[in-house]
Subunit: 322 residues, 2 copies
């Protein structure tokens, strides 16, 4: 039977995910306007910028300017992404403004890391130890372990649940070697191989082996399964999700390979609210933020509720009619 | 616990649903090309054309030409839609080519029928009797009862489950008055109010009251819930769905009010196949048909798997790599 959570926590990744893929890059002032709109929605965790190589990701060449230009609301965490020690150093410049949180992260797919980082899993494990040292030295808390490609990989194929459990175990071993035991396990469906039954099977196995840890899901909608997968997560009691307002990061245009956006925040919030699950988020404000996002990128985005409308408003109107 | 069906039956509505909203209308030869592409996918039921007032729906002014121009594959049912006696008469001209099936259909929402047809539910019931007489006289089988707005209505608000059961009962009474007991109950989420929990509640109640009837779902993705709703249907053992290739009928562009497409056929087939549920459909052929649909309408459509790719193909490649 279902074990729905009473409250769901959403980590907004729209700005960071969405703005990195746009060509030409979104102007700095539009990014800031969007982040400021998100700040008033009730979202408590927003990944705003990416400190990555501006030559490789021109969309985030202005990360420092965005950090300096945006508003900071009390009670809201604004977090940066980094992918290497240099990016981490850039992020560290803004510790007064941004919330830095470390993570021990491995891919469940060796084929993927070999292909993308020219490293095997052992070398990747060593790198995670280096990160841990860096975080410990900087006093940055390490609050989760994460497994990428946890449900399948375009290069490796299906990922057996046993491999996911093994990768989580390896992450916790790395953390333990540095005196840490992060409270959260993040399972990422990096290449959109998950289907609801697979979500249930994997989450069930992870819960059984790591009963004291919180499970968090990062879902992509590349094959249209994100909402069904989130619902399967809710049925398993998963109460923590990444999401991106308006489905940023993806694109309905066939020209954008894969249309690989994150699950859309307002659609997920709509599902939760309709099911009586709290999010602490104002859906109407979120829909407005989605419209600001579309203006920022200058083209339609895949989110649905922002176009289809909040049923709460239609209920009010219907109530007024009868 | 879940009670997934072994096999799912899909009624394709893409051509009829999709082409009616396009402006300017899709050229006849492109409609025919798309219908012919669908014929080779393994789909057994395709709603191809709409015999509606060409002044009100210019997109289907060429219904007769499409019927005359398309190919007919053995074992595939090609069905028309009609919305009034005149449309039914037009459809009857093509009984040698098309499969005509009658339906007793009511809206769960009185506010909706008053607004759209200027009739109350009693008047609507009388009209259903007239239809039944017409079908019986013509020898057209009546194989289902249908309830529209079964999960909620923009004008009436939430629809209590009791009202859905009542409407189904009224439909069966109409059918019985003409000596019929249709085997199938179609529940339509006409205005996209359904969420997975509501699907389960309603389907559960319908099953309990009408245990001998097959439940069929018609789902819209206006608020991004269609796939989660279909998954909830599968969990309830529902084995019959309407769907539209490429998500035809909707549109990712904000300019199209509501983006109210049906659930996307290839995305639903993908979900089924990944869960080991048979559909009898060739997903690759369906993805090709979705591309033909995009060419026909001349703009991107919301379906995801056609862009994200069939995992079966990636599995083969990954298998070849290792």
């Amino acid at each position: 039977m279902s074990d729905f959570p009473k409250k769901v926590k959403i980590n907004e990744e729209g700005p960071r995910e969405g703005f990195q893929i746009e060509k030409p890059p979104v102007p700095t002032d539009k990014k800031i306007r969007f982040i400021n709109a998100l700040s008033g929605t009730g979202l408590k965790h927003i990944q705003t910028v990416s400190f990555v190589n501006p030559k490789r990701v021109p969309g985030w060449a202005d990360a420092e300017e965005v950090v300096m230009g945006q508003e900071y609301h009390p009670g809201v965490e604004y977090a940066p992404l980094w992918l290497n020690p240099k990016g981490f150093e850039r992020a560290m410049q803004f510790r007064d403004k941004l919330t830095l949180r470390g993570k021990v992260s491995l891919s469940a797919s060796e084929a993927f890391v070999i292909r993308n980082q020219n490293k095997n899993l052992d070398e990747n494990l060593k790198m995670q130890h280096e990160y841990m040292k860096q975080y410990k030295a900087a006093g940055v808390p390490v609050d989760c372990v994460g497994v990428n490609s946890a449900f399948g990989c375009n290069y490796q194929g299906d990922i057996p649940t046993g491999r996911v459990l093994e990768a989580i175990g390896q992450c916790f071993e790395v953390a333990a070697a540095h005196g840490e035991s992060p409270p959260q396990i993040r399972l990422s469906d990096t290449m959109a191989w998950a289907t609801p039954d697979r979500i249930k099977r994997t989450v069930g196995a992870v819960r059984e082996k790591f009963p004291d840890k919180e499970v968090h899901l990062h879902l992509h909608d590349t094959r249209g399964m994100a909402m069904a997968n989130a619902y399967a997560g809710l049925e398993m009691g998963v109460a923590s999700y990444d999401a991106a307002v308006a489905g940023l990061g993806g694109c309905p245009f066939a020209g954008h390979a894969g249309a690989a956006g994150n699950i859309c925040t307002e659609d997920l919030v709509f599902l939760c609210h309709e099911m009586g699950i709290e999010t602490g988020i104002d859906l109407d404000a979120l829909i407005e933020a989605a419209q600001v996002a579309e203006e920022a990128v200058g083209h339609p985005l895949p989110g649905k509720v922002a176009k289809g409308g909040n049923l709460a408003r239609l209920r009010e109107k219907a109530g007024a009619v009868h």
